[in-house]
Symmetry: C2
Subunit: 333 residues, 2 copies
Amino acid sequence: MQSNYYTISEYPTGTPSQDVFKLKQQDLPALADGEVRIRNRWLSVDPYMRGRMSGVTTYIEPFELEAPLEGAAVGEVIESGDDRFKVGDKVSHMGGWRDVAQLPADGVTALPDLDVPEQAYLGVLGMPGMTAWTGLNAIAEMQQGDNVLVSAASGAVGSLAVQLAKAKGGVVVGLAGSQKKRDWLESQGVIAVDYRDKDAATLSEDLAKACPDGFDVYYENVGGVCLEAALNNLRVGARIAVCGMISRYNDEGPAPGPANLAMILIRRARMQGFIVFEHWDNYPAFLKDVGPKVAAGEIDYQETVREGLEATPEAFLDLFKGANTGKMLVRLG
Amino acid sequence: MQSNYYTISEYPTGTPSQDVFKLKQQDLPALADGEVRIRNRWLSVDPYMRGRMSGVTTYIEPFELEAPLEGAAVGEVIESGDDRFKVGDKVSHMGGWRDVAQLPADGVTALPDLDVPEQAYLGVLGMPGMTAWTGLNAIAEMQQGDNVLVSAASGAVGSLAVQLAKAKGGVVVGLAGSQKKRDWLESQGVIAVDYRDKDAATLSEDLAKACPDGFDVYYENVGGVCLEAALNNLRVGARIAVCGMISRYNDEGPAPGPANLAMILIRRARMQGFIVFEHWDNYPAFLKDVGPKVAAGEIDYQETVREGLEATPEAFLDLFKGANTGKMLVRLG
């Protein structure tokens, strides 16, 4: 059987162009004991993947050149060499960026028994949802009534973060760059603030108007002016969960950091970076907390869906243009 | 009785010049019930005082213009209107920058009964020592064997921080700007690194050579290139205690922050600001831990002593030139 997959031949610098991604084919070898073969239905593209497209190990290993790229995917078992899986099982795994994946069964997970669409396990109940939940709870230790600021607030992670924060009762402000995204935020009871083309001073003032008492928690997905403006609007004892700094992922050289980092001292604030993969032990607790809310329709999760394997590179690159509302997904036929 | 004191008539911008400080005299009113009158023997000057010389409330109230400046001091009670104190008692209090202080007894503390010189309560057993201990233990949660980096490592706070860190067994590196300071650090088993006139890249390399495995804890007193170089040399899960950013205290405008703040994410590090005055409940625990070590001569604390009340402004300003080794003190005749 043939598998069609995307790979890269070299590590791009700066913003990758689409021709970095090469579509290739391979004939899969016969299934070995302990392996399963999966026809993928949904592929995930996520900003963190940019970090794997460099020759440098940051917090995760680089992608191997010429090998199939990796990423979260959901599909159906079409052949099984392992007792734990049978043909027809719905599963999630990391063999994305391809139509047919052949993997050791140890890296494959059966989808939980919840009444939700299968692609939810790539978004609201997958890595992005788990990232939002971990950042707010384990890292920022959000308390009932806390005022919370979220950057990239309509993205896959941010859109769940604002809803989980809102459920705890404080003022929730979301930063988003388009009117459509801000409309969605306002529909959730979130105060939406535009950050596009603003300097840090202007954005600081806008945040102060949106939440005059300041923020107890800042959920940081962006960096740059968003971070600088947030630092100017912290309450004493604030916690910043640093989940990503997407504004910097394609930078070719270092850019200056916030000029007001001393606010960490002045506000006795705490800023902490985290990688969700290191908190995966908490996934069952997350699923127990958030899964029933999703099944009951209490969480409004957005998806931006692209069609067909060949749409994957553009879907990925569009993440850095803010083209997605909610989770960016690729659906395979 | 007359009191001679220093005051300021306006809030300076940038690096203050010496003529900002005005020496004035007042005739003290008769002692009221509940007050004590103290002849000061030792005055403390500390970098945090710069923050009080601006019209802006940061984490502490500004000094009142034309009123006596405040700061830690040690002296002897010469008249008492409160049962808790009698003439001849040795006390510490916040009525510094003057020769005779008249204060409510509630703000006056009898010196503990330890066999140490009285000025130790302004340094190794006072606010600076408590700051070092709090930053390492309560904020950075230093563990046995941790590798620790300390900036301003021969200062009043840093010189105790390196010794407390060294006692826990890991590699300890101290940043200091003069050969004399580095010699003292090396005499304590601390690896001394010069930071003067280096850019962040060069200093990063020097730190990597000094401690190839990276740092679990960074005790931050300085900001600027020291912070940027430290961020490049963190271990996964590192903790940064932000005690001060002395390199910025005299800045007239904002300066760019570190270009590599994303290391917080890459190393899953935590950076936390603190103000020692908010942790003063722990002072008895600090005194119990560190006091006997000082009395036994196990802590090598340095002092830079200036003579006479009129030396106070220059002593304060010299803190920002790095002219002190250990605690900067003014002795009154």
